[in-house]
C-alpha cells in the first residue's frame, strides 16, 4: 500500500516521460546470517538496465500497512554480490544478485523477533517505480557459519600438535636438520682453546618466562659441555638474578656430564646490573680487557645489541648470535659471523635438548607449514587456471582458505 501523498507525487511527476523503469524482481528480506541480530538483509535480482543514473531507494516499515520510511539510496549498478564476499557454504544470495544489509540505526531501529516490511523504489530522470513489499524478521545467531573454516583450522592444528608431541615422547630423536650456526659453535670453542682466551656467553635481556631465554639457557648447557671438554674459560655475565641462578645449575650439570666436575668454577656466571646501558657498558669493558676469542649472543635483545656486537667485532672475536628479536636481527647479521634467525633459535634448542614437547611442537609446526606452502602453490595454480578457463569452480576449494567475517 503506497501512502496517498506519494501516489499523488507519482501521478504529477510521472507521465511527462516515456517508458518507466522496470521494478526490481525477486526481492527477499532475510535475517542477516551469522550476526548478533538487529539487522536484515535485502536480496534482489540484478537487471540488465542497472546503471549509474538509475537509483535505488530502500524504504522500510514496521508492517506492510504502516508508513514506509526511506533509509538508504544508491545507484542501481552497485551492491552486487562478488566472489569473496561470502563463502560458498553460507551464501545469502547468488553471484551477481544485489545485496544490501540494513542495520538498526537511530533513524530506524530494528528489533529482534519483529517482522518488518521493505520496499525498493527505482528512480530515473524523474520517473519512479516501486517493487513488491517483502517481509523479514531479524534474529541473533548462535554460530557464525562463515568462520567454520577458521574453527576447522584450529581443531586440525590442535590435533597435529598433540599427535606430534605424543610421537616425540615415544621417539625424541626424530629427524631435524642441522643448523648452520650450531656447527660454528665447535669451531669457536676450539679457536678459543688454541688462543688461550675465554668465551663470553650472553643470555639476553629476557627473564626466565621468555621462550628465547629458555632456548638460550638450553644452548648454554651444550656450549658448557664442550667448554668443559676443552678446558677453556667460560664467562656468563647476567642482567637477571633468576636467570643467573638457573644458568649456574645448567653449567654445573654440564661439567658433571662432561666428566669434569673439578673444572667447574662458581664464578663463571656472575650478575652485573639490571639496567640496560650500564650492563652493556660493563660487558663492553670485559670484551675490551679480556679479549674473549668467541662471543655468543643468544636470547632476546633490545637496543643494546649494536653496542655489544660492535665492540666484539672490534676485538676480532668470532661472534655467534641467535635471537627472535626481529628488530635487532639486521644488526646481528651484519656484525656477527653466524646468526640463528628467529625460529632457528628455538629449533636449535629442540635439536640440542631433545625435550619431547619442544621437538613435538617444532614437528607439528613443520607439518602445518608444509601444508600452508602447499595451499599457497596449489591455490595460485588453481586461481590462475580459473581465470584461464573462466570458471568459478575452484572457489569451492579456495574459499576454504579465505578469511570471512
Amino acid at each position: 500500500m503506497i501512502p496517498a501523498s506519494l501516489l499523488l507525487l507519482l501521478l504529477i511527476g510521472g507521465p511527462a516521460f516515456a517508458s518507466p523503469p522496470s521494478p526490481p524482481e525477486g526481492i527477499r528480506v532475510l535475517d542477516t546470517p551469522n550476526d548478533a541480530g538487529k539487522s536484515l538483509s535485502l536480496v534482489w535480482k540484478a537487471s540488465s538496465s542497472d546503471r549509474k543514473d538509475r537509483s535505488v531507494q530502500v524504504w522500510v516499515a514496521e508492517s506492510p500497512q504502516a508508513a514506509f520510511q526511506k533509509v538508504a539510496e544508491f545507484p542501481s549498478n552497485s551492491r552486487y554480490v562478488k566472489i569473496g564476499d561470502f563463502p560458498w557454504w553460507a551464501q545469502p544470495a547468488g553471484k551477481g544478485d544485489h545485496y544490501f544489509k540494513l542495520s538498526s540505526s537511530q533513524a530506524f531501529p530494528i528489533d529482534n523477533g519483529k517482522p518488518y516490511a521493505v520496499k525498493l523504489l527505482i528512480r530515473e530522470s524523474g520517473q519512479e517505480v516501486w517493487s513488491e513489499a517483502a517481509e523479514g524478521v531479524a534474529a541473533p545467531d548462535y554460530f557464525n557459519s562463515s568462520q567454520v573454516n577458521n574453527l576447522v583450522f584450529v581443531l586440525a592444528f590442535t590435533g597435529v600438535l598433540l599427535a606430534s608431541i605424543a610421537a616425540a615422547r615415544r621417539n625424541p630423536h626424530v629427524y631435524l636438520r642441522r643448523i648452520a650456526g650450531l656447527d660454528a659453535v665447535e669451531e669457536a670453542i676450539g679457536r678459543s682453546t688454541e688462543m688461550g682466551r675465554p668465551i663470553l656467553y650472553l643470555t639476553g635481556s629476557g627473564g626466565m618466562s621468555d621462550v628465547s631465554t629458555i632456548a638460550a639457557t638450553v644452548i648454554l648447557g651444550q656450549v658448557a659441555k664442550k667448554v668443559a671438554h676443552y678446558e677453556t674459560t667460560l664467562k656468563v655475565p647476567h642482567r637477571d638474578p633468576i636467570v643467573m641462578a638457573v644458568c649456574q645449575e645448567i653449567v654445573k650439570e654440564a661439567y658433571v656430564e662432561a666428566g669434569r666436575p673439578d673444572a667447574f668454577k662458581e664464578d663463571a656466571n656472575f650478575f652485573i646490573t639490571d639496567d640496560q646501558f650500564s650492563y652493556t657498558a660493563a660487558v663492553d669493558g670485559i670484551m675490551l680487557r679480556e679479549k674473549p676469542a668467541a662471543n655468543f649472543f643468544m636470547g632476546s635483545y633490545f637496543a643494546e645489541s649494536l653496542l655489544l656486537t660492535e665492540t666484539g667485532a672490534g676485538t676480532g672475536a668470532i661472534q655467534i648470535a641467535g635471537t627472535d628479536s626481529d628488530h635487532q636481527l639486521p644488526f646481528f647479521v651484519t656484525t656477527c659471523d653466524y646468526t640463528l634467525i628467529g625460529e632457528e633459535l628455538y629449533a636449535a634448542s629442540a635439536y640440542l635438548s631433545r625435550e619431547p614437547v619442544l621437538v613435538g611442537t617444532l614437528r607439528g609446526q613443520d607439518f602445518s607449514k608444509a601444508f600452508i606452502m602447499g595451499v599457497l602453490v596449489v591455490g595460485t595454480v588453481l586461481a590462475t587456471t580459473g581465470v584461464m578457463l573462466q570458471t568459478d569452480a575452484f572457489n569451492y576449494l579456495l574459499d576454504l582458505f579465505r578469511d570471512f567475517k
Partner: protein, 217 residues
Amino acid sequence: MIFLKRQLPLAITFVMGVAFALQYYIPHPVSEEAITKVSDWMKIISGFALVLGIASVFHVHAVKIRRQAPGWGYSGVLFAAIVVTMVVGFWSGGESKVDGGQTSFGWLYDYTMVPLQGTMFSILAFFIASAAYRAFRARSREASVLLAAAVVVMMGRVPLGQFLLPWTWDITQWLMNVLNSAVRRAILIGVSMGSVALSLKIILGKERSYLGGGKDQ
C-alpha cells in the same frame, strides 16, 4: 591443597581458554556481553598487574639500598624520583593541565620525562654511525645483500637520495611492497603458528611456565 595449588589453576586456564576461543565463533549478544564483561574486569586486573611490576622494581632497589650494594646511591635517586613524582601527581589531582594552565605534574612530565625518554633512544643514532664505520662489513654474500638493500632504502627514503638518484625511490617502493612484504608475511605466518601452538599448549596444560616455578610444584 594440591588440588587448589595445581589442578585448579590448570582447570581455570582450560575453561577460560576454551570458552573465549569459542566465543569468537558465536555472534549472539550473550557471547558479546560475556567477553565485554570479562574485558572490563581485565582492565582492572591490568591495573593491578602494573602495580605488581612497579612493586618488583621497588623491591629490587630496596634490597640494593639495604645491602648498600655498589651503586645503591642511584637506587636512592630512583626512589626519590618516584616519590617526588607521586607527591606532585596526587597534589595536582593527576591532571597535567587545569583550565589551560600547566600543573606541576604536567611540568614534571614535560621537562623531565619527555627529554629523558626521547634522549635515551636517540643516542643509538651515534652508535649506529660508529657501527657503520667499524662493524657493518660485507663478511658474507648474505651480509653484502643486506647492506646493499639497506643503502638503497636509506637513499630512497630521503629527499637528497631521491634528488640525486631518482631510481632509488622506485626501487625502495618495490622493495618494501613486494620483497619485504613477502618476507614479513612468511615470518608473520610462522610466528603466528608458534604463538597459536603456545596458546594451545597453555590451554591444554602442556605448558605451565606461566604458573611460575614455585617451590610446591
